[in-house]
């Protein structure tokens, strides 16, 4: 039985390709299809610490196109945890542009399109063009916006969050009708915190309250762990989605992504736990397909 399994996994590889093919090692993974990776278009929202990790990983894996959305400039405080920025030529430049330039050295075949706009002003067609959407953001509002459009356009959405030694990754996909989306897990308290940022007239308030300011403690070890898991989810979706769409099952060699689930990393207790997220029947984003719009 074991020998049969082993035989199935043997691939015939030309000796010359072992050294010359940069993707040789990953191609040896059962279920891997480098063409799918090469043809993929990934939207990465946020080019901060986690965004750096995700773009680096996807670039090295040979993803075809990355739409990188971030309008921020690089500051000194970014340099402690962003692998694609450096002290000599990155400061005061757009994060998206610097990542694009650095990644040319990592893999010149990857096309990175830097979009230096706020998320709510981007061309919404970009969501439709993408095969997977990754959110590497530091605020709930933008996350929810990305979630809403990803869900609407049936594009798998991989969200991550970081806080000190803690991190989480969640995948949303409207192709799985029973799976919760990001909005499903939003509480009234979250809405209250979002609203606190704005005055009654809808203008943004200046506040030193760390809860509303959005600046969170962060360390590269956590961001690289979470960025690594997030990138892996993207690859699993790219490699397994066609099987899920045609057979209703994820490729067993690649495994099922975290759709409707949240993986939580606790760096204090050195634990990973995965929880299933409950679908909210009154969700503003995903209940519309069940004809429950408005009202109760």
């Amino acid at each position: 039985m074991d020998s049969k399994k082993t035989q199935n996994r043997i691939k015939i590889i030309e000796e010359s390709s072992i050294k010359s093919d940069r993707f040789d090692r990953q191609k040896r993974i059962a279920g891997w299809d480098q063409e799918k990776i090469k043809n993929a278009r990934i939207m990465v929202i946020g080019a901060g610490a986690t965004g750096n990790e995700v773009v680096k990983n996807l670039t090295l894996c040979g993803v075809g196109t990355i739409y990188l959305i971030d309008y921020d400039l690089i500051e000194s405080s970014n340099l402690s945890r962003c692998v694609l920025f450096n002290y000599t030529n990155s400061l005061e430049k757009y994060k998206a542009d610097v990542i694009k330039e650095t990644c040319k050295n990592l893999n010149p075949n990857v096309k990175i399109i830097s979009i230096k706009q706020e998320l709510n002003s981007i061309d919404k067609n970009l969501y439709k063009k993408s095969d997977v959407i990754c959110s590497c953001l530091d605020n709930l509002e933008a996350r929810l916006e990305a979630n809403n459009y990803a869900y609407y356009y049936n594009v798998p959405f991989v969200d991550s969050g970081i806080d000190e030694f803690f991190g989480s990754v969640q995948v949303v996909y409207s192709g799985d009708k029973n799976a919760a989306c990001l909005q499903c897990g939003i509480s009234d308290k979250d809405l209250e915190i979002m609203w606190k940022k704005f005055s009654c007239t809808g203008q943004k308030l200046n506040t030193n309250d760390s809860e509303t300011e959005g600046i969170i403690a962060s360390i590269i070890t956590t961001t690289s762990i979470i960025g690594g898991i997030q990138s892996q989810q993207v690859l699993k979706i790219l490699l397994g989605l066609s099987s899920f769409k045609t057979k209703g099952q994820w490729n067993p060699k690649i495994g099922e992504p975290l759709i409707g689930k949240q993986l939580i990393y606790n760096g204090i207790s050195n634990e990973f736990i995965t929880i299933s997220k409950l679908k909210d029947p009154n969700c503003w984003t995903c209940s519309y397909k069940g004809q429950k719009i408005g009202g109760k």
Binding site: N120, L144, N148, W284, Y288, I293, G294, G295, K296
Partner: protein, 190 residues
């Protein structure tokens, strides 16, 4: 604030406006659709008071019809997705109407309403409109808006609680529209 994709937002807003139409509190002719917003006027029935001079002890008179302007933005149903503007005159500590009595200036239309500040996942146009009716009938003089007329109204309603005013004006119970059952779902279809 985040926004929903336009089609979802459009369907939700149409459905919620339809609920208001069925409750008879929206003027259908007032609804104006723009690219990224909808404007409409609410016709609320609630027992409020306006200033009325002539009586030395009690300078108010009941007023039961009110007009509120509403603008629904693209960020609806997220917090701040609706702008409210109380238009018709009202003597109230928590409402600064646009039409100010005995003034050549216009008021701000601001409404100090907990439902707006504590926006929840179940908040919608219907619950908010009902909350406006309740607020009009139940002024909170302990938390007035910082406008002279609102501060004045606050001290007035502290001296003359609403129950006392109802007795004076011989108003036993003001009729507000019958509440729908909580499990009613109205689906709007084009």
């Amino acid at each position: 604030m985040p926004e929903l994709p336009y089609e979802i937002w459009d369907r939700r807003v149409k459905n919620e406006i339809n609920i208001l139409k069925k409750l008879g509190i929206v003027d259908p002719k007032s609804i104006k659709w723009y690219d990224n917003s909808v404007e409409l006027w609410l016709k609320l029935k609630a027992l409020g008071f306006i200033q009325k001079y002539g009586n030395e002890n009690l300078n108010v008179a009941p007023k039961t019809k009110h007009r509120v302007f509403i603008k629904i933005n693209r960020s609806f149903p997220y917090p701040g997705g609706i702008d409210f503007c109380w238009h018709s005159e009202l003597y109230h500590p928590n409402i600064h109407p646009v039409e100010l009595q005995n003034s050549t200036y216009l008021g701000t239309g601001y409404i100090c309403l907990n439902v707006l500040r504590k926006w929840s996942k179940l908040s919608d146009l219907e619950t908010t409109s009902k909350a406006l009716q309740i607020l009009a009938e139940n002024p909170n003089p302990d938390d007035p808006l910082q406008y002279n007329i609102c501060l004045d109204a606050a001290s007035f309603f502290k001296k003359h609680p609403i129950e006392k005013l109802k007795r004076i004006f011989n108003i036993e119970r003001f009729h507000i529209p019958k509440e729908k059952k909580s499990d009613d779902i109205i689906i709007y279809k084009d």
